[in-house]
Amino acid sequence: MSQTALNSSRRWVRPLLISLGVVLTLLLLVVPLVFIFVAAFSAGVGGVWQNLTDPDMLHAIGLTLLVAGLTVPINLIFGTLIAWCVTRFSFPGRRLLLTLIDIPFAVSPVVAGLLYLLLYGSNGPFANLLDQHDIQLMFAWPGLVMVTVFLSCPFVVRELVPLMSTLGTEQEEAAVLLGASGWQVFWHITLPNIRWALLYGVILTNARAVGEFGAVSVVSGTIRSQTNTLPLHIELLQQDYNTAGAFIAAALLTLIAIATLVVKAFLQWKLARQH
């Protein structure tokens, strides 16, 4: 192919690809998103308000925030620890540990839910112990938190490990030589370097924790106003023939997602200004 032919073919390839991308984005992303809100408001403002103030809905919102509110800090600490271990120290089994961390991504959420149910349910090995102390894990909120922590634990690690490997250890070593304590090294050197990746990991963890359905559905027992998270509540409303209600709940989840993105953008902007 000669140079001019290549150029002329490029001339129409580029707009074609761009418009294809735009059309696909519209069809697959924007239109469904808009539709959720249109369907939600099909019940009218009064209907939306009535559905939103329904005690079952309020509880589902609260429970979802509780699960996410516990999952995010747990995985933030856990993920940072693991990433620190894996990138700052070299020990046998390092690669294996990294692979193990990926298990929650590899298994289906339903399998994860069943695993926890079989392990901590009343037929599992801990049944007697839990029973004696009257501790209810499965079919109660602790079970929901447990499976959500399990499923969302790789996000922070996966964001931090590549970055911390590229950053190397020189700065930290220098700090130690100048007499900094371990905590000072982490607080003044490591954390400022990794904060963006950390924030991104937190946002992904939060998104997963809020939206998780499969595993949560297995260990929830779907008791209204007790173990019903927002995604489970959507299914329940849909089966109750309350389509508008289901879309209102879905719109709420979408709003939480959008809010997460806005918070991320805002923090990015603010931190960029400080420099």
Partner: protein
């Protein structure tokens, strides 16, 4: 982020403290009973408050009744079960010993405060002229009901059709079996649960007949008046009991014995039976039966136990892997 964490902490405290504040009862029930118990529970709460002065909260968990039984076996601490299939309560005895084998004898009418039977939902004007089970096997009739493997509701449909054929062919099992094969060949879609089948029939407009509980059929007609669906109750039909039981192990642990028993006994009261009849369940209370006779067409009901021996035998012969249902479905495809 901080405010949401604070909020979460507050909620955390609230969630922890609720069980201590009020006496609670958890009713684990079948999928399509949501509206029913949403109406009965407040009546019982008021009744209990009046009788004892105690404020009670009744929580509901709904799902396919086999799935619900499985959850209870794995530790869901339901105080009472209100199922649509007695085998699912038997399982709680057999696999978990959570209640005694004679649970049926602890309450009136086989521990079944209400019952129902199967009905056909047909499209406006009944264009395919469906009036009996026999008509369902006619060529060109499309049937919609859930999969008998996963749904108690559909097991009744299968046994209703099979039982009707047995009676028609003077208990000649070979002939009945053959007829059921043509009946099953008319099925257009097997959904996993009752509500899924309803969606297939109403929203996706699949098939000519939706077969489900009489109660559900009437509910759908009310829910979708614009479709002008019609109800057909065949002249012979299967009795579907809705058994209830308290779970002895769980009520001991939860300290809810009095409340659980009173709750189930309340289902037999005139007030509750009125609600049940309004939801198109057939009931036992003489007064309510007389008042609502018009809405329940006369049909000759047979018990599954009478035509097929025990439920256990039916389960292993017909619905187990490689059982009669599987065989007939495979033969029908050829």
């Amino acid at each position: 982020m901080h405010t949401s964490k604070k909020l979460a902490l507050l909620l955390f405290a609230a969630l922890l403290s609720t069980p201590l504040a009020a006496k609670e009862l958890l009713n684990s029930s079948y999928d399509i009973a949501r509206e029913l118990f949403a109406e009965i529970n407040p009546l019982f709460v008021a009744h209990w408050q009046q009788q004892t002065g105690e404020t009670l909260t009744i929580n509901q968990s709904h799902g396919g009744s086999s799935r619900q039984a499985q959850a209870i076996l794995q530790g869901l601490r339901a105080d009472v079960v209100t199922f649509n299939q007695s085998t699912d309560i038997d399982v709680l005895h057999q696999r978990g010993n959570l209640l005694p084998a004679n649970w049926r004898e602890r309450l009136a009418n086989n521990a079944s405060p209400y019952y129902s039977t199967m009905a056909f939902l047909v499209r406006k004007g009944n264009p395919k002229q469906i009036n009996s089970w026999q008509d369902l096997a006619k060529p060109g009739v499309g049937l919609v009901f859930p999969n008998p493997k996963t749904s108690g509701n559909a097991r009744y449909t299968y046994l209703g059709a099979y039982g009707d054929a047995l009676q028609r062919f003077d208990n000649d099992d070979a002939k009945a079996r053959n007829w059921v094969k043509t009946f099953l060949a008319n099925v257009v879609v097997f959904d996993t649960g009752g509500r899924g089948a309803t969606t297939s029939f109403v929203d996706r407009e699949l098939g000519d007949v939706l077969i489900t509980f009489e109660s559900e059929v009437n509910g759908i007609i009310k829910q979708y008046p614009e479709h002008q669906f019609e109800r057909v109750v065949p002249p012979t039909n299967v009795l579907a009991e809705f058994p209830v039981a308290w779970i002895d192990r769980n009520i001991q642990r939860n300290g809810s014995e009095k409340q659980a028993k009173a709750y189930l006994e309340f289902l037999y009261s005139n007030a509750a039976q009125q609600v049940l009849a309004r939801h198109f369940y057939r009931v036992h209370d003489v007064e309510v039966v007389a008042a609502t006779a018009a809405q329940f067409p006369v049909t000759k009901l047979f018990k599954v136990e009478d035509l097929f021996s025990s439920w256990d035998a039916v389960q292993s012969k017909h619905f187990a892997s490689g059982g009669v249902l599987d065989q007939l479905l495979a033969e029908g495809k050829r």
